[in-house]
Every structure is written in structure tokens, then in C-alpha cells.
């Protein structure tokens, strides 16, 4: 309990003093996880939409696979990405290991299935509402998908948020492919892991509090957008 109070005080001090290291780490966390969320959405949303509006043989198996991939263990993703990006690996020539780029790739792989699976659910629900009308309008599949993605934009924001939440909170993948290098690839979660391993538990906890406040802020912003949308019946 003593630790908790101390951590809270530390967290307040860190934020209030605008600690440059903290600003850098928070900035990189946001940059990496937001980039990964964007890329994951560019991959996952069209994929989720396609599966939502298409009936094909083996669709059940694809759904099961998509849902299962939502639970990809970050450390396994990290290891696989490491093995590819390592100088000894097939993509080693890119020189991406131990860079924010590698971390974005790992987190994208981690959350693209989440975005795909959750958006598939959202879009399939909406599609069942729109389907007859759209068929009456003789829309092409492309037009249908585009219309669904746009009309589901607010629920999909929540889907993206779920992906972002997973990305910004994971430590296993970024630790391996980023290397937790100070001023280069250190993010909130790897900094917390480092402080913990130094036995600096109050500092680790303080960083954790800052991370949670950050997540809370992002969630509140999205919630605000959604409730505005709901007021205008756009949700």
C-alpha cells in the first residue's frame, strides 16, 4: 500500500514536471501503437468486410481461424518477427530489427486479426440489416463493402480501439524486436518491465499509472465521438 501511494505521487510528479524521458517514451508508445493500429485497420477492415458479405466454402473454418488468431501470444509474434528481421533471417537486409519499424510490424501482426475478426462481426450485423435493400439497389460487392465500412465507422472506431489497447499494452513482442533501447525503442511497457527488473517497483507502478491514464484518455476521446454519433443516430 505504501508502494501504491509512493507510485501515485511519482506518477503525478513525472507528468507535472514534463519529464523529457517520459515524454519521449510516451510519444514513441503512441507513435508505434497508433501506426500499428492504422496499418492493422488497412489490412483488417477490408478483410473483415469481405468475409462479412461473402458466403463461400470453408467460411466457418476461416471464422474460427480469425477468432483464434485474436489470441496470438505477443511473445510468439515477437519471436517470429525477430526471426524474420534478424540479420540472419530472410528480411535481415532491411535492417529493421531494433527499430520502431520492427515494433510496428510486430504489433500490426498482433492486432490485425483482432481488427479483422471484430469488424467482421460488426459488419455482418449491419449487413444483415442492409442486405435486402442493397440487393434491391443492385450494388456491386465493392459498393456494398464501401457503404458498410463507412456506415459502421463509429462502431469500427471501437474495434480499432480494441486493437490499439492490445498493442499499447503488450510487452512481449516489442521487447524482443525493439530491444528496449533507451531513446530509440523504449516504450511504456518495456520501460515498466525494466523498472520492475531493477526492483524500482514504485517507478514501474508510476509508469503503469501513466500508461493507464493514457489509455483512459484515448478511450474517453473515442467514447465522446461515439456518443456524439449516437445522438445523431449514426451508430
Amino acid at each position: 500500500m505504501q508502494d501504491m501511494t509512493e507510485a501515485l505521487g511519482l506518477a503525478v510528479d513525472l507528468v507535472a514536471s514534463g519529464d523529457p524521458d517520459l515524454v519521449e517514451i510516451v510519444g514513441l508508445s503512441l507513435q508505434v501503437s497508433l501506426s500499428a493500429t492504422l496499418v492493422a485497420c488497412m489490412i483488417g477492415l477490408p478483410l473483415g468486410a469481405l468475409v462479412a458479405v461473402t458466403r463461400f466454402r470453408g467460411r466457418g473454418a476461416v471464422l474460427t481461424l480469425m477468432n483464434a488468431l485474436m489470441g496470438l501470444p505477443p511473445v510468439v509474434v515477437g519471436l517470429i518477427v525477430y526471426l524474420h528481421l534478424s540479420r540472419a533471417g530472410p528480411l535481415g537486409f532491411l535492417g529493421l530489427l531494433y527499430t520502431p519499424g520492427a515494433m510496428i510490424i510486430a504489433q500490426t501482426i498482433l492486432i490485425a486479426p483482432i481488427v479483422a475478426a471484430l469488424s467482421r462481426q460488426v459488419l455482418e450485423d449491419m449487413h444483415s440489416e442492409y442486405d435486402a435493400q442493397f440487393r434491391s439497389l443492385c450494388l456491386t460487392r465493392g459498393q456494398t463493402i464501401a457503404a458498410l465500412l463507412w456506415d459502421a465507422r463509429y462502431p469500427l472506431l471501437t474495434v480499432a480501439l480494441a486493437g490499439f489497447g492490445r498493442a499499447v499494452a503488450e510487452v512481449g513482442a516489442v521487447m524482443i524486436v525493439g530491444g528496449n533501447i533507451d531513446h530509440l525503442t523504449r516504450v511504456m511497457t518495456t520501460a515498466i518491465a525494466l523498472e520492475t527488473s531493477k526492483g524500482a517497483l514504485p517507478m514501474a507502478l508510476a509508469l503503469g499509472i501513466v500508461l493507464m491514464a493514457l489509455a483512459l484518455g484515448v478511450n474517453a476521446a473515442v467514447q465522446g465521438v461515439r456518443s456524439t454519433a449516437a445522438r445523431y443516430a449514426y451508430v
Binding site: 520502431p100 519499424g101 527488473s197 517497483l201
Partner: protein, 275 residues
């Protein structure tokens, strides 16, 4: 369409940040040198002088060597001499140089159930712990510290893995995590002194066993060979390794203190060694 290209541009910008702005090298390092704050003390001095950015990936010695074998580092700085020599013999390193030393200690709870406090013989202490079946937290991760611990058990004639999961608890994690776990369950643990001194979650734990010459902990530095790994920045990594063993580098190592205690003792063979 503009929205989409904007998204793509943002994503690419995120990826592109990986490009180094200036010359830099990656050091695959053991955790104790990083967690104790040594690099925070050394690297700014080196960077000021040379303009070379040193990026430290701190993992266990076993993983550091494996990463370096994958060519994912320019310099190796660890503490497991036989494994380091093998690394060089296999052609991955240009040359291994003794850099500095400190020692391992056995820490434990104040109530000391195996009554090892004050012992100066590490093997005797380990035997007493095994005898009492008092909990012992091992790294269990093939790190330099773990390799050392295994060799001490072996010399003591104890096969601790027989008590694995009971009194012998292999955490499979770094030094700090193992100390956190050990302290959490009232277990003895072996740690390098630097990590222990700078460790902030000691609670009622103290150093119980120290001073045995068997507990000597030698660190070495090895530039990764450009022949084995063409991606290596050979000039910069040689530069860094040379600086560490130079008079100036050795002095900088000796000057690093936590709570007034010196954590690492330089002993490079050529010009600067104090030993």
C-alpha cells in the same frame, strides 16, 4: 482517397523512423551492466567524444550471444568466458578482451533458514541450502549468472534440479525479475554485486555469502566479426571496444558508483587496468 493516402503516409513515416539519423552501433549486453546504470554513465562520455550512438539491447548472456550469432549486434558485452571464447573460436567475434570484474554474492532473507550467513565458501553455502531444502531462486535462463551458478552446484556435488519446483525454483527470467520473485517467496538467490547494489526492492534481504574466489565475475568485450556478419559497423564497434579498454574507458568504469560503492573493477590487460 486523400484520407487513405494520408493514412499510408503516416504508417510509412512510422516505419521510416527506423533509419538511423547518425552513426550507431548495437551492443548485445548482459543485463547487470544495463540495470545497474553503468551504460547511463559510460555512453554519454563515449558519444560526446566520437559522435557514435551506442544502442544497448540488455538480455541474458545466453540470449545476447545468440543474437550476436544472428548478426543482430555490433559488439558483445557479457560475462561467461567459456561461451565467449567459443563465440570467437566459431568466427563470430574478432577478439575477446577482459574488460572488468566484480563478484557474485548470495543473498537471502534476514532469518536465514539454512544458516549460511558469514560463510566464505560458496560451495559450502550451497550445500547447506540444499541440505536444508531452503528455497533457492535460480535464473534458469542460460545467462552468465546462471552458468556460474550451475558450475558452483556442480562443484559442490549437488544436483539441485532434483528439487526443481520444490525448493529449487528456476524463474527463467532476468536477474531483477529473479530477485523480485526470490524475495517474494523468501528464497536465496545468487546475483552479481552490481545488480544487487543498485536493486531497489531489497526489503529485508542482505548479502549472506561473499568473498569466495569462486564467486569472481569477469566481463569481456568482443567486437562482432565483419567477416561473419557483413552488416556489422566494424569501425565503430572496434572504436567502442578499444575505448572501453583504454585508459580513459577503464577510468570511467572505475568512477561509476552507486551509494558510494564501486560496482565494476576495470581489469583490461593493456594500458588502463587497475587490477
Amino acid at each position: 482517397m486523400p484520407t487513405r493516402s494520408l493514412l499510408a503516409a503516416t504508417a510509412l513515416a512510422g516505419l521510416a523512423t527506423g533509419a538511423w539519423a547518425q552513426e550507431s552501433i548495437i551492443v548485445q549486453s548482459t543485463t547487470s551492466t544495463a540495470n545497474s546504470g553503468l551504460y547511463d554513465h559510460l555512453l554519454p562520455i563515449f558519444e560526446d567524444e566520437t559522435g557514435i550512438t551506442v544502442n544497448v539491447v540488455a538480455v541474458g548472456t545466453g540470449q545476447a550471444i545468440q543474437n550476436a550469432r544472428n548478426c543482430d549486434g555490433d559488439v558483445l558485452l557479457v560475462h561467461a568466458k567459456p561461451a565467449e571464447e567459443e563465440f570467437v573460436a566459431d568466427g563470430f567475434g574478432t577478439e575477446r578482451t577482459d574488460l572488468m570484474y566484480n563478484d557474485f554474492v548470495i543473498v537471502g532473507p534476514a532469518d536465514d533458514p539454512a544458516e549460511v550467513s558469514g560463510m566464505e565458501d560458496a560451495q559450502e553455502a550451497l550445500s547447506a541450502i540444499a541440505e536444508a531444502q531452503a528455497p533457492f531462486a535460480s535464473r534458469g535462463d542460460d545467462s552468465g549468472t546462471h552458468k556460474k551458478e550451475v558450475s558452483l552446484w556442480s562443484e559442490a556435488g549437488v544436483e539441485p534440479t532434483g528439487g526443481s519446483g520444490e525448493w529449487y525454483r528456476e524463474t527463467g527470467s532476468g536477474m531483477g525479475a529473479t530477485l523480485n520473485a526470490g524475495i517474494g517467496m523468501g528464497a536465496y538467490a545468487m546475483t552479481d554485486r552490481a545488480t544487487w547494489i543498485s536493486f531497489e526492492n531489497k526489503q529485508d534481504y542482505e548479502i549472506l555469502v561473499e568473498g569466495d574466489s569462486d564467486l569472481f565475475n569477469q566481463y569481456g568485450v568482443i567486437p562482432v566479426s565483419q567477416e561473419a556478419c557483413p552488416s556489422v559497423n566494424a569501425a565503430a564497434s572496434e572504436n567502442f571496444a578499444d575505448w572501453l579498454v583504454s585508459r580513459e574507458g577503464q577510468a570511467a568504469i572505475a568512477a561509476y558508483r552507486v551509494d558510494g560503492q564501486q560496482l565494476f573493477f576495470p581489469n583490461a590487460p593493456s594500458e588502463g587496468g587497475e587490477s
